[in-house]
Amino acid sequence: MNFLPKASTFATQADKLFLQIFVLSLVFLVFITALMIYFVIKYSKKRHPKAEQIEGHTLLEITWTVVPLLLFVAIFYYGWTSYDYARRAPRDAMVVKVTGRQWTWSFKYPNGKQTDKLYAVLDRPMKLDVNSVDILHGFYIPAFRLKADAVPGRTNTIWFQPTRLGTYDIQCTVICGVNHSSMLSHVEVVREKEFKAWYFGPEGAPEPTAVAALAPPEHAGEPEALALMRPRGCLGCHSIDGKPMVGPTFRGLYGKQEEVVTKTGLARVTMDDERLRLAILEPSREVVRGYPEQMPVVPIGDDELNRVVAYIKELK
């Protein structure tokens, strides 16, 4: 398939299988269609006024039961063996944890580094442990022909070995709410040298880029708190420019008076440090009136929480 890059060993296998089944199907379709048209013309009332009453033909019927059955079972077999390949990661594959949440992906590498783009090394196997913290998502890399659902409470694994440098799309394939179609990311296939420089480099070492993607990183130089919130998905629901999204904006939030729905009823509160903290740690305890109860519980460290709160406090 030329119109979609083929960038992993599995993609090569899958495309080969695809082509075979495609040709088989095409032959079948053309055969059936041609036969129908031929019969309709050849045996039209004018040319063939008296129909012959043929009730069946045992041998023919056995043939067109057995032959398709064999073909279908063959398709099953090759589908299964290639699938099996995609499921058995080599021992030396690097294991990356993929976490989906409304509406971002984040990637955690064995040494604890965390990114919102996936970095993979050319010709090296990588295994993904896909998981979700809220609802179902689908982790899909079309260029690798691979997909695994992100299911909260369980880990689904796939693995791949990239065969081409470049930047490839990651898309979410399971409907997950209003921003489903912008739950996108990229996988960046880079050379081993660049990957290692970043991976073993100090914190803040520049992330590696594939040759194809030389554009400067989108979020360079942004405040630290934003860099903390981005991979946690906060900015998918909250804006910093005053516009309400799924949740209220962070701008002007500190010190604001608002109505919240609690277990016991409505209450009026003023947003202070404590309330901000509570809103992030236990979102369902006090739900801002007029907003859905959709804010997920996102794991966040104490220190990080302080920085986020301090940032919101400054956002006047």
């Binding site: 695809f18 008296k50 398709p68 589908g79 997909k147 880990t155 799309d169 979410c172 179609s181």
Partner: protein, 541 residues
């Protein structure tokens, strides 16, 4: 056939005045023919509601990002489109309309076994539909989960899922009760002499379908009830945060919804098996093979549900078994296709609109079936699942298949139902844009899917744009065909030329009564001595 042509002064079912007349005479009539017309009118109305939603969805895809409606509205639209088309059009489908109208007559009966239950089924249907409409306009906005209501999103979203799901729950009763009615009718009310193997193939298909409706629908009912309970009381069956399992939801949902696919397609296949012999003026090729393949489809079709879940995280062994069974279930469908084509062989083919639509069905259904096999192959499904490919595939099966068969059946039995004839030219003129537009729309979706475009996306990446535009233009062409088709049929209901009792020279029993049939169908119960497609006498006449 030993039945004589009945010429009777009895009023036909359209004109008959019973206890009630006017609209009430329709709404309270237990005559299977009137119930069929009630279904026809309501289902076509819903169909056009679904088409409108689809039309707007296609317009939205004309631009990659800046849109005329919000993402939330878009999500509500595809949920609406899916729910309406599936629960209110294709699931009742040919069974509700032609099962009701044709089944009793083709069996030589005066009505279904339980006429009042039959009317009640329609009320469940309309009741469910009304609740679905209410769900759109009340609560926190219309459901936005897609028609599959996957948990835990369906449990957490603030939209009106509870009521929407309840609507589907009520609709299930309509389906189950119709199933019970038809199974009983086929067992009890066949004309004397009509053994199971002298029964035409449409009743065979209805029989297989009805059993699936009876056996599978309760699973859906339970699943939907659990979703409602979980939303209301947080019992934690499907929500992992409460110890539930979202994959369990998928199993339960598809244990119904996969057989439901066959509930939608089997009666369509049955109708095609009636139409082909009539227009080839010869007996069907491989009667028993077609009859048994309906049963085989119903049986195997109930065992393949998890092929919707190859990426959900089932065990590899489970995936393997379900992939294998999926391939097996393709065989009976292939057998039917071969038998249909062979039925044209050495026939004496009278080319009329029903045949054109039936042959289009075979073509489109082949594409639908084969793309299904592609996805049944595990390695390909990992790529194609949840993309536009699946959207294209099931539109080929459900619309190219069931939809076109519905159109074929409608133009085939139209003269019987209304006693009038439509304009053949109009049917050919409508076919052309419908068929071309259809392929432009859905074949493009198959291509989009191969290219990696995920389904249910409000915005799309630039590489998919061209194909989206092509598909949208296709949708306009197709819809104009649909309008011509239904417009001219509607015209023919009132203004069409009178049709005789047997305009196609068919031999099944429904053509032995006048058109439109009298209230009681037969004044004298016919006796059957021949196989159903016994053309020998008529041939050459």
């Amino acid at each position: 056939m030993s039945t004589q042509q009945h010429t009777t002064a009895e009023p036909n079912y359209l004109e008959y005045d019973g206890k009630h007349n006017g609209l009430l005479g329709w709404l309270l009539s237990t005559d299977h023919k009137r119930v069929a017309i009630l279904y026809l009118v309501s289902m076509v109305t819903f169909f056009f509601a679904g088409v409108s939603a689809g039309f707007v969805m296609r317009l939205v895809q004309l631009t990659p990002f800046h849109k005329m409606i919000t993402a939330q509205t878009y999500n509500a639209l595809f949920t609406f489109h899916g729910v309406v088309m599936i629960f209110l059009f294709v699931i009742p489908g040919l069974n509700a309309v032609f099962g009701n109208f044709v089944l009793p007559i083709i069996l030589g009966a005066k009505d279904v076994q339980f006429p009042r239950l039959n009317l009640a089924s329609w009320y469940f249907f309309i009741g469910g539909a009304l609740i679905a409409v209410i769900a759109l306009f009340t609560g926190n906005g219309p459901p936005d989960t897609g028609w599959s209501f996957y948990a835990p999103f369906s449990l957490k979203t603030g939209t009106n899922v509870t009521l929407g799901v309840f609507a589907a729950f009520i609709l299930g009763f309509s389906s189950m009760l119709t199933g019970i009615n038809f199974v009983t009718t086929i067992h009890r009310l066949r004309a004397p002499g009509m053994t199971f193997f002298k029964m035409p193939l449409f009743p065979w298909a209805v029989y297989a379908t009805s059993w699936m409706q009876i056996l599978a629908t309760p699973v859906l009912a339970v699943t939907l009830l659990l979703v409602i309970l979980e939303r209301l009381f947080g019992i934690g069956i499907f929500d992992p945060a409460k110890g539930g399992d979202p994959v369990l939801y998928q199993h339960m949902f598809w244990i119904y919804s996969h057989p439901a696919v066959y509930i939608m397609i089997l009666p369509a296949m049955g109708a095609i098996s009636e139409i082909l012999p009539t227009f080839a003026q010869r007996t069907i090729f491989g009667y028993k093979a077609i009859a048994f393949s309906s049963i085989a489809i119903a049986g195997f079709g109930s065992l393949v549900w998890a092929h919707h879940m190859f990426t959900s995280g089932m065990s590899d062994f489970g995936n393997m078994i379900f992939s294998l069974l999926t391939m097996v279930v393709a065989v009976p469908s292939a057998i039917k296709v071969f038998n249909w084509v062979a039925t044209l062989y050495k026939g004496s083919i009278n080319f009329q609109p029903p045949l054109l639509y039936a042959l289009s069905f075979i073509f489109l259904f082949c594409i639908g079936g084969m793309t299904g096999v592609w996805q049944g192959a595990l390695a390909l499904d990992i790529h194609l699942h949840d993309t536009y490919f699946i959207v294209g595939h099931f539109h080929y099966v459900m619309f190219g298949g069931t939809g076109f068969a519905f159109f074929a059946a409608l133009v085939y039995w139209f003269p019987k139902m209304f006693g009038r004839m439509y304009s053949n030219t109009a049917m050919y003129v409508a076919w052309f844009p419908m068929f071309i537009g259809f392929n432009m729309l859905y074949f493009t979706m198959l291509i989009l899917g191969m290219q990696g475009m995920p389904r249910r996306y409000y915005a799309h990446l630039p590489q998919y744009h061209l194909a989206h535009v092509v598909a949208t233009v296709g949708s306009w062409i197709m819809i104009s065909g649909l309008l011509i088709f239904f417009g001219s049929l509607l015209h023919a209901v009132f203004r069409g030329k009178k049709a005789g009792s047997n305009p196609w020279h068919a031999v099944t029993l429904e053509w032995s009564v006048p058109s439109p049939p009298p209230v009681e169908n037969f004044d004298e119960v016919p006796t059957v001595t021949h196989e159903p497609y016994h053309f020998a006498k008529e041939a050459g006449s």
